[in-house]
């Protein structure tokens, strides 16, 4: 190591990379002038050095209290943030000290937030993948009892029973809630933007749509139950009740996103259409909605993604079934979320819960897959159907 490089790092000057060709014939560089703007800065190696030191101290502290990766990470992080900020304060002054403390805390918060979220995704993938197979996808839980699960654990045979009935239930209930919500939601948004013009009725509707946005999902379930209880008696639990409950959650989302999209359609287009002697309803259906359709469609897709994973309203409206039921107007119905919930909370075989847990995670993976596909689909729709620009 030449004197020159030592000198360089002492000044804390960011190294200007020496071109590769020069490396072969190192010339003694002239002593570098200290850049006055770089005065009073920590040398570059200081922060990585402190980090390494903190890691050692953190590991040591963790060993004292019984070693674990979690405690080591926590101790290291605390020691590093304190040491690095104090050093910066000492060398560069309190303002920069505070700045680096804030920086480390922000980065730390981000890493901290990643831990549970990554853990959720990792767990679902790790535990869900083994359970996903053709048998799981295309069979229901009909006839799968505790004895069946016990047998498969004792004999080490594959887990019997699947989520087909729950997938069918989820798709049907979501389909019906979409059938209810999209027309009601879109027409309401059209009323608010094109007809209501901020009149008293429009303001009342806006207010109550806001109220609906804040309804907890379990209360939405109770709403639907109470409604059908009055109409069909207290034990009316079937798919359509769940669909109505989900609609209560979905309609405000559809209204909001449609409203936003209709509002950004330039008024000039409406005027252009009127000036051609086109009627208002045709202007709305043929000019305004086509212009906004990409945004509306992606909003609707996101709304579907939101309700497809709802559990609580299904619990109180559609009950739980083990068999395949394609009739939303009769009998209990299973959905993926309730399937997951019941497999965990009341395992099919109380003595051997592993098959149930495996089915639950597989169903969770399936559900997350659906939600992700819908979210990505929403993005795709938004970009594919956006009004075309260019020649």
């Amino acid at each position: 190591m030449s004197a020159a490089t030592t000198n360089q790092s002492n000044t804390g000057q960011p190294d200007t990379k020496v071109p590769a060709g020069n490396n072969k014939a190192p010339q003694p560089p002239a002593p570098r002038r200290r850049n006055s703007l770089a005065k009073g800065h920590l040398p570059r190696f200081a922060i990585p050095g402190i980090a390494a030191g903190s890691l050692v101290l953190g590991a040591a502290a963790s060993t004292l209290t019984g070693f674990s990766v979690a405690t080591m990470a926590i101790y290291t992080a605390i020691i590093f943030v304190l040491a690095a900020s104090i050093t910066t304060t000492a060398v560069e002054g309190p303002r920069r000290g505070k700045n680096s403390l804030a920086t480390y805390l922000v980065y730390g918060a981000f890493l901290l937030a990643l831990v549970p979220l990554a853990s959720v995704l990792f767990t679902v993938l790790e535990k869900g993948l083994p359970g996903i197979n053709m048998h799981f996808l295309f069979n229901s839980m009909n006839g799968v009892t505790g004895a069946v699960d016990n047998a498969s654990v004792e004999n080490g045979t594959p887990v019997i029973g699947g989520a087909y009935h729950a997938v069918v239930g989820t798709l049907l209930i979501t389909l019906w809630s979409t059938i209810i919500s999209v027309p009601v939601g879109m027409l309401t948004a059209i009323y608010l933007v094109e007809y209501g013009k901020n009149g008293p009725l429009a303001r009342a509707i806006t207010f109550f749509v806001d109220v609906m946005t804040g309804i907890p999902s379990i209360v939405a379930g109770l709403f639907a139950t109470a409604l059908f209880a009055v109409l069909f008696g207290p034990t009316a639990r079937m798919g359509i009740v769940a669909a109505v409950a989900l609609s209560v959650l979905m309609i405000p989302t559809v209204v909001r996103s449609t409203e936003e999209m209709l509002k950004i359609v330039p008024n000039e287009l409406r005027e252009a259409s009127y000036a051609l002697g086109v009627r208002k309803w045709r202007t709305i259906t043929k000019v305004v909605i086509p212009t906004a359709i990409s945004g509306i469609a992606s909003g609707v897709t996101l709304a579907i993604a939101r309700v497809i994973g709802e559990t609580a309203p299904i619990l109180v409206t559609a009950g739980l079934a083990n068999n395949i039921n394609v009739n939303v107007f009769g009998n209990w119905m299973a959905t993926l979320p309730t399937f997951i919930y019941y497999q965990i909370i009341t395992p099919t075989s109380p003595t051997n819960i592993d098959p149930s847990i495996q089915r639950a995670w597989a169903a969770a993976l399936l559900l997350i897959g659906m939600v992700m596909v819908l979210n990505l689909g929403a993005r795709l729709i938004a970009s594919l159907f956006a009004p075309k620009k260019g020649r």
Partner: protein, 259 residues
């Protein structure tokens, strides 16, 4: 295919606010009439009352009569949609429908109303309208491309073609060149000169040279002050308005002393 417009004692309101007061004017068929005046004098508002477009804005209403060849636009039982299909309008900023191709933009007035039109009729209507708007040669090879891909001046001519395709009696133009460059403006002005052989054209413009170049008669609107209604000050042959106006305010305006 061209009708005259007579306006009698027209007051235009937005809710309670009187925007334009007591206008009387006769607009000849197959002529170009220009409305000039300072900003906010109500010339655009008045123009929009000529095909009931001002009703689109909440609270917009009128008192008085607007007669299209003797038929009152505002008589009860008259459908604004019928009025607008006879009196078309071109706007300040070109506004082709972004979701439609050039061809569909021209056919918009027909198709949006759900009228059936045979393919050959549609083709000839598209060609005729685009030729009428001096745009055919520029776009005939890309009729299926989106209208929003055209230049500003081409888009404005596309909007004119779209208006012509409905076969109106009158075409209203609300500062059609204010968003365009000088060359595109010239193209539109040439087009206006050709349009008057078939249509009655009424144009609102900020540009007095433009009014002098394109119009047969000119109406000068003015406003007494903020919050006061706009009024028609003087209406005469364009040459008279610009060389020998009878009202002092008109002379001040056209000579550039205010506005």
């Amino acid at each position: 295919m061209s009708k005259r417009i007579d306006v009698k004692d027209l007051n235009v309101y937005y809710s309670k606010f009187l925007a334009v007061e007591d206008v009387n004017i006769e607009i000849q068929a197959k002529s170009v009439t220009a409305f000039i005046g300072p900003s906010g004098c109500g010339k655009s508002t008045f123009l929009r009352t000529l095909n009931r477009m001002h009703e689109v804005i909440p609270g917009g209403r009128v008192e008085g009569e607007v007669l299209l060849d003797g038929d009152n636009l505002y008589e009860s039982g008259v459908d604004p949609v019928t009025v607008r299909s006879q009196i078309g309008m071109v706007f300040q900023r070109p506004n082709p429908f972004p979701t439609m191709s050039i061809r569909d933009n021209v056919l918009a007035g027909v198709k949006l109303n759900g009228k059936k039109i045979s393919k050959s009729d549609a083709e000839s209507l598209v060609e005729k309208s685009l030729q009428g708007a001096n745009l055919w040669n520029e776009v005939k090879d890309r009729l299926d491309k989106p209208g929003s891909g055209l230049s500003g001046g081409q888009q404005q001519r596309l909007c004119i073609a779209r208006t012509i395709a409905v076969k109106p009696q009158v075409i209203l133009m609300d500062e059609p060149c204010s968003a365009l460059d000088p060359i595109s403006t010239l193209a539109i002005e040439d087009l206006i000169n050709e349009l008057k052989s078939e249509f009655t054209v009424v144009i609102v413009t900020h540009n007095m040279q433009q009014a002098a170049r394109v119009s047969d008669k000119t109406a000068f609107f003015n406003i007494a002050g903020t919050g006061k209604p706009g009024k028609l000050i003087e209406y005469a042959e364009t040459a008279t308005i610009f060389s020998n106006p009878s009202v002092k305010a008109t002379e001040d305006y056209v000579s550039g002393r205010f506005g």
